[in-house]
């Protein structure tokens, strides 16, 4: 036992002696520039960049595992010359830095931190100001991106990049980040088994969070506010979306969530507030929407077509202009046990379910789909009358699209 303990202590002391820390500052430290510190360090070393302004760009770390950290007030200004860090290494840590003024380019994707084929990485407490791309992570896996702030200045989609962009990555945790005024807040392209939580994505031009060909991911407890669209999930399978808030995504093509060609996903406990369209579903299969709240949206849910076997149950639909817009046939999608604030039925047997079914699709939403300008007649008495007559005898809206057991009280979770 004693021998074991002492050998353990020996191992630790060996570990610490090899894990040397070098310092970088303007005067009186081991090195004056970050690049020379990196070049002269061995794998396993730590580099501490002391407080100060460093005008350096394109710092290359190649096949060396380094732990780079800064102090409060450590600023790296790339002066629009290119990348901040360009890394290809395993076991790499970069933290506590401010990186600013990333070059905008229409041909290259300049980023504050570029990781390529890097495993076991951690990027923490990085502030990126005036970013083109924030973190561009390619063909990497097993990493953590935690507690970063990334802000851009882009004015159009074409001349701005994504805050956190993952391409062909696996097993990455993206947590507690704040991304704003970029093209996409967080973008996963061919990314799988990633976990995204507690991020705040605000004022991005395109999407707050974007999945493309990315399977088996989870995102939860994020807030998406005033983006072009909150989240776009496209061509992906088995995505879990829990407890997110989507709000104020306003505009002609703005959605809380845009679902395009996705299957086997689950949406639970999300809140959709003040969006033009809460969920836009196009080509979605076997998706479970349960215990979500849709309040004050233009459309709560808009189903475009080619959607099969989706289940909408136990959701709260509160004061939306339209609860549901639907194109095509019902296609074995079900709407059951939801709470609809527009429901006018009664519950005589007191079992908690309304006795008469609810029809979520109104004739007027069908008309607005056909002639968008007719929206000016919203809430007119005439529209109420034709909606009522359509409710009594459906002609234009799908006849079997009904909630047979609408709830009488809001769902609580």
């Amino acid at each position: 036992m004693k021998i074991q303990l002492s050998s353990l202590l020996l191992l630790i002391s060996i570990y610490f002696t090899t894990a040397q820390t070098v310092t970088v500052c303007k005067a009186g430290c081991d090195y004056k520039s970050i690049q020379t510190a990196v070049d002269s360090s061995k794998s396993g070393n730590s580099i501490l960049i002391k407080s100060g302004l460093y005008n350096e760009a394109n710092i290359v770390i190649y096949k060396k595992s380094l732990h780079i950290s800064g102090e409060e007030g450590t600023v790296i200004d790339t002066q629009n010359k290119g990348y901040g860090f360009s890394v290809e290494a395993t076991d790499i840590v970069i933290k506590n830095l401010t990186i600013k003024n990333i070059k905008v380019s229409y041909t290259k994707e300049y980023a504050a931190i570029l990781l390529f084929k890097s495993y076991d990485f951690a990027i923490e407490n990085i502030t990126v100001e005036n970013a083109f791309f924030g973190f561009l992570i390619q063909k990497s896996k097993d990493g953590v991106i935690h507690n970063n702030t990334i802000a851009g200045q882009g004015k159009a989609e074409a001349d701005s990049g994504n805050a956190i962009h993952l391409w062909h990555c696996k097993n990455v945790k993206i947590t507690n980040n704040d991304v704003r005024r970029m093209r996409d807040g967080i973008y996963l392209e061919f990314g799988s088994n990633s976990y995204i939580s507690n991020n705040y994505s605000n004022d991005n031009m395109r999407y707050g969070l974007h999945f493309m060909f990315s399977n088996d991911n989870i995102y939860e407890d994020n807030i998406f506010n005033a983006n072009g669209a909150g989240v776009a999930v496209m061509f992906s399978k088995r995505i879990k979306m829990f407890r997110n808030v989507f709000k104020k995504n306003w505009g002609t093509a703005s959605y809380g969530i845009l679902l395009k060609e996705i299957s086997d996903a689950e949406l639970k406990h999300n809140i959709f507030e003040d969006n033009t369209i809460g969920i836009n579903a196009d080509g979605t299969n076997r998706i479970l929407f349960t215990e979500n709240t849709f309040s004050n949206n233009g459309y709560a849910v808009k189903v475009i077509g080619a959607c099969y076997d989706n289940t909408y149950s136990k959701n709260n639909f509160l004061y939306n202009s339209f609860d549901l817009s639907y194109s095509g046939n019902l296609n074995s999608n079900t709407f059951e046990n939801n709470y609809w604030s527009n429901y006018t039925g009664y519950d005589l047997d007191k079992n908690g379910f309304g006795d008469i079914p609810y029809r979520p699709v109104k004739l007027f939403s069908y008309l607005v789909n056909r002639t968008p300008e007719s929206i000016v007649l919203l809430r007119s008495l005439f529209i109420d009358i034709i909606d009522f007559s359509e409710k009594v005898s459906p002609v234009f809206t799908p006849e079997n699209l009904i909630d047979n057991k609408p709830l009488m009280t809001q769902v609580k979770w």
Partner: protein
Amino acid sequence: MLKILKYSFFDLMRSSWSYVYFAFYLLLGIVLLFLNNDLSKAVITLMNVIIVLVPLIGTIFGVMYYYNSKEFTELLLAQPLKRSSIFLGQYLGVAISLSMSLILGLGLPFIAYGLFKSSAIWDFSLLLIVGVFLTFIFSALAFNIALSHENKIKGFGYAILMWLFLAIIYDGLFLMSLILFEDYPLDKVSLIGTMLNPIDLSRTLILLKLDISALLGYTGAVFKQFFGTSFGLIVSFLALTIWVGLPVLRIIFKSNKKDF
């Protein structure tokens, strides 16, 4: 004119109809607030009531008051008074007393509920302003109809028809023409169509505050420009003012020429 206004006003204030109207709004406000517990939702329901009922009541009251006070009017006409001041005085008496019932009837429960602390105060005051505008517009229109028709039954009939047309039939025709011409760009046409009907205009004005996400999302750039800015608000109020002004001018014109 002021004297006649005062007389008409107090005459109406004493009549039981004003109290019924006042009590109706009071009850509506109380029921909405204390059964709903949600101020914003109550404002939406109120909008539905206001854009339908206020014009109807303004119309009926205007016609009724004109015919009822006809003998008194003829008595006044024998006096050395300007005709326009007689009729304008009566018209303003009706419109102001109706507006007062509306404002007090709805305002009291809302104030009791704690309106001044709520963010819905702007929505609510817009609602009241629109309600007052509608009262003025529709009682003026009613006076016009009554002035043009000696026969009471005919006058009532036309007044109700006018309300029915503006409240319901107009929207039907509007919608039909939109669908008929859906291949053409319609945003400007639909804006103009909205301006031409005071009820539609009021509804749109209130909706801008409430359902703006739906409106903004589903319409073209013209709508966004118009509805998204204070320019739209100013133009809308201007249109409402014109809607009050034109019928009032016709009251003056018609009453000067009419042979009693």
